[in-house]
Symmetry: D2
Subunit: 341 residues, 4 copies
């Protein structure tokens, strides 16, 4: 299969290459970057020396490249311009940006601060969370790869909302992300000297992943959904830990509920009762690891969910979606153990 990567000089770009370059069943036809055009990929990312023998292409030079599937690892607002032409010629798309994630165009435009260029495609796009939308993804031409936070929060709440045993009007997601979630752009706030050996919340007043998560949660229940979502910045490279709180409406065996819901999922791992997942236990892998607690036997369920924000939260899930869309085994190229310690 012939694969292209548009916008490959960021962290999701290098991560796609890390996951795809060892595979013999696909060929990376191009990786583009306007800023890095002409430079060797392994000059920017020495970790890929010996693995990727490509230079970055100018985006304009690869418009006619024939690919079976193209990944967009571009900033928000790019894929919506280029997707139509690619779909037209039969190229499938996995978009790692947010362009096709929100079904309500006006909500998207409000949170992303721009006009949507092709609202018509939004309705056609599958939301790329295979644990919920696997069948749709298989048949999709265009997949909107979920955000990093939304993956953990949706997977963590899923069994509770499907079972209808929690009050969906006061859900809380206290989420913490490693710094790669902020991307590879130069910024004072993300310097090691600023973000190292420290911790803070950010975007408490409102974060773009809130509407994406609420949209997903609403799909799991008949009830109204009201989520308080608080993102925080961790001084670690990779990893998201979402701590989820829900008020129980009735008694239930939460451990059994979670194990049952995910028993056939290759990339969701429910830990034994009483466990606390560490972000490092999924470093470099496509696994979302969960634990569920009911502290003091009271009425609050607490779910702990970890993932590698660059893998299950971005590039790994994108490859999982690619595998589904191209009829390959879903787990192909995604089964290596985590790098721990």
């Amino acid at each position: 299969m012939r694969i292209g990567i548009i916008g490959g000089s960021g962290y999701t770009g290098v991560e796609l290459l890390r996951l795809l370059s060892p595979r013999r069943d696909i060929e990376i036809v191009f990786i583009s970057s306007r800023a890095q055009a002409g430079n060797r990929v392994d000059s920017l990312f020495p970790s890929l020396r010996g693995h990727v023998d490509l230079s970055f292409s100018d985006p304009d030079d690869v418009k006619d490249a024939q690919c079976d599937l193209v990944f967009f690892a571009t900033p928000n607002g790019t894929a919506m311009y280029q997707a139509p032409a690619l779909l037209e010629k039969g190229t499938k798309i996995v978009d790692l940006s947010a362009d096709f994630r929100l079904q309500d165009i006006s909500v998207w435009e409000q949170w992303y601060g721009m006009e949507h260029h092709c609202p018509s495609l939004v309705a056609e796009a599958a939301y790329g969370l295979p644990e919920i939308h696997r069948a749709t993804i298989r048949d999709a031409q265009l997949v909107a790869n979920p955000g990093c936070y939304p993956t953990t929060v949706q997977l963590g709440f899923l069994p509770l909302l499907e079972a209808g045993i929690v009050n969906t009007d006061s859900l809380i997601a206290d989420a913490k992300s490693g710094i790669t979630g902020a991307g590879r752009g130069a910024s004072v706030a993300n310097l090691l000297a600023e973000a190292g050996d420290s911790f803070k919340a950010y975007g408490v007043a409102g974060h773009r992943h809130l509407p994406e998560i609420e949209q997903g949660l609403k799909g799991m229940t008949e009830a109204d959904v009201n989520l308080t979502f608080t993102p925080h910045l961790l001084p670690i490279i990779r990893g998201i830990h979402s701590t989820l709180y829900a008020q129980l409406l009735e008694d239930a065996d939460l451990q059994a509920l979670f194990e049952e819901r995910f028993k056939n999922e290759p990339f969701v791992d429910v830990l034994p009762a009483g466990s606390h997942p560490e972000t490092r236990s999924v470093r470099g892998t496509n696994v979302c690891r969960l634990a569920v607690h009911r502290p003091q036997g009271r009425n609050t369920a607490v779910v702990l969910a970890v993932e590698d924000n660059l893998v299950k939260g971005a590039a790994g899930q994108a490859v999982q979606n690619m595998n589904l869309m191209l009829g390959m085994p879903e787990t192909e190229g995604l089964l290596q153990p985590a790098l721990m310690p």
Copy 2:
């Protein structure tokens, strides 16, 4: 004033010395440690070279030392044996351990797994959170210095509970602590190789600070209090960030409420509306810095509270209490700016 420190080879011990050694109004008469007896303090803690010209004493050798005030920086279960004799001879005590924090002896015995040796002193002890109990502390012979988490959680919820505007039956404290909170004991879990570049929750099923916090919160309100408290381990040296959630029962100007409550407090700093305090902004200082939010204008109040767990969360608050108990200015020796970056 003559000061003694019992159990000084841990992090609260070295921190007490950092804060006290520059002062001319007090004399450190001894610092004891059974394990380090005979060793120079600045051999164990080279940061104190030139500042502390003492060796660790054997605890048995300092029983007759005359002090105005003694700090216990010992493990739980030690101060309760030694406090009576000291009080007897008129020595005041600030206990940084948990021995005198819980008024309900049976609850204490359940959470700390031992029999309490002198329940009668518990009732006499003042709980050393000056922002709430200042007058009592001034007159106390024995002060139970609060835990690190409880300080942020109580200060953060205080204005909301005193005002009676939140549902106290579903309070949530999602708290994150730097690794010094785990103490200086050798342990695999706290190795840099284990806790570095990672993040996890711990003690979700139950943590000793839960009853301490709930006792404090109950003192602020007539209503029942039900708190879900989730501690997490941050890969940073110093700092606690508590993210607090409460459901609002009525509308209120939260920013004004917080500013008003703490306007005369030298060590509580309410940030401007919309702010996000960083743990590093209080590194090395006795300040608890707060921000209050009401995301999306919905019904959930979100309070962000940071402190240095070794200062306002331990040794600094202990010195603040000492200042009050000895009739010194409350802020003496505690006003240096934070070390940032």
Copy 3:
């Protein structure tokens, strides 16, 4: 091929499992640990959930297990007792400890502070640095896997010493290691609270890797060798960076010299002139990445050498040696790209 791992509860143990578990050409017959006997491996190392379906064995219970090759991931002084019986029954051995590294028994006994139990095997053991001893390793029954520091220092000096163009009497190796080099034992010095956000040298008066390195360097030259070796502790998880200094005796094209020496080596990567390798560029891989400089065109050659201390510095090199000893492709299972960022 049937493989056993003796002493598997440390970092080299879990790293061997990370590298070996995905392979279909070998079977891990047992992994032993006296302390963890009976516990599931993936309970201690959750990163291996779904990858390793084994419990730790008691070492005494696996003495009769039939294996083609056994790894010793034990503390120094263990393999020398157990190796003879294994070799007797035809089992090959890769020893990751130091028991068979030093040919001079008296030097070994001086640095390791114990009597050597089987000096006779030392002479038979191959020193497992394939870039120098590949042929010997292929035929060996017993391979002494090199230390982490010695791998980088020997590879970095190799072209200079073989070419005979430096003064070998004043070599300097300023080496820096991530904290996993200190192992998984509980210790105050390696706590995140102690070693984090700080840096120091250690063992300047003498480190056990000095005689190992000097033995290796002496094998590269006719001249006397005198090395000053200064190890330092980095606040990172994985990675060694050795900065090597040698006084040039004559002019030479250092870049060409290095590229030529390693052009056929799959796991040594010489960077372009002017480069500075980062430890993260080899995180999780078996590559040693080198750069050579001649600052200001003066007479000092400066070599920069990085490796992952747990991979090329330990478990990865052990697997490379296993591949050679068992007649498998040398790079089998060792070609995944580094985890970067």
Copy 4:
């Protein structure tokens, strides 16, 4: 005394404020920053809330401010334009940039890539390393504050070169700096995601501190000086560790030599024989801590030198110089213990 700070939005600016704001003997008249003009200082640096009640001034607005002394915390190439007018009106200057550090103008112009605007002042400027130039500094109108690396390297080599017991033709300084040494500018290379959990050398071919150090070393000896200087980037916030190597020409009691040389120096601390200073032991303080070794009793002296690059390596030394220039006690405001852990 009236003090001004020009260019105060970087790390040396905030550090000057941390050190100066608690003092009652000086008044900070202004702090300027073109980019931050009009913004409150404690808005940019919340750690200074309650300590600094100033807004950043536009540099053009403070040209007529009357000050006893002005600090330049500006990028290189700024102070040389503004110094003449200030000196003209009797204002003393401590320049934390490199404008007046190198006596050889052509060397300066080569390394800094610009024409020097006022070479005449260079000869008048004192080099602000009090341990060597104290008397000159006391009388100077203009002090060139040393670079961060040069302070440790010069102090560490000083006793050896003054005693004339080492070969000055093959000196080596292997230096490692925390990330604040790179300043507060936005840059990809210094992101936590790039520089965290990793380590590398940089500028091996040539670094601007090389000529500064060599100039200083030449002042200590009659012999020729040839230094190989290799800077590295540490994933820590503050701290420099320089590991220095020199070949001994004769036998000597190195420990006694170092202790004797620095016995009256308030900010140089020679550790007992066999010690290894940690960078954290000087975090936040103006101390340079040294240890000297002679590994294996061979001919190489190894000096370990640590400092806080923002204090003794920048703002602290600048305050030390200010104290000398204004006739205040040299240690005023600089004696607080380090923040450790």
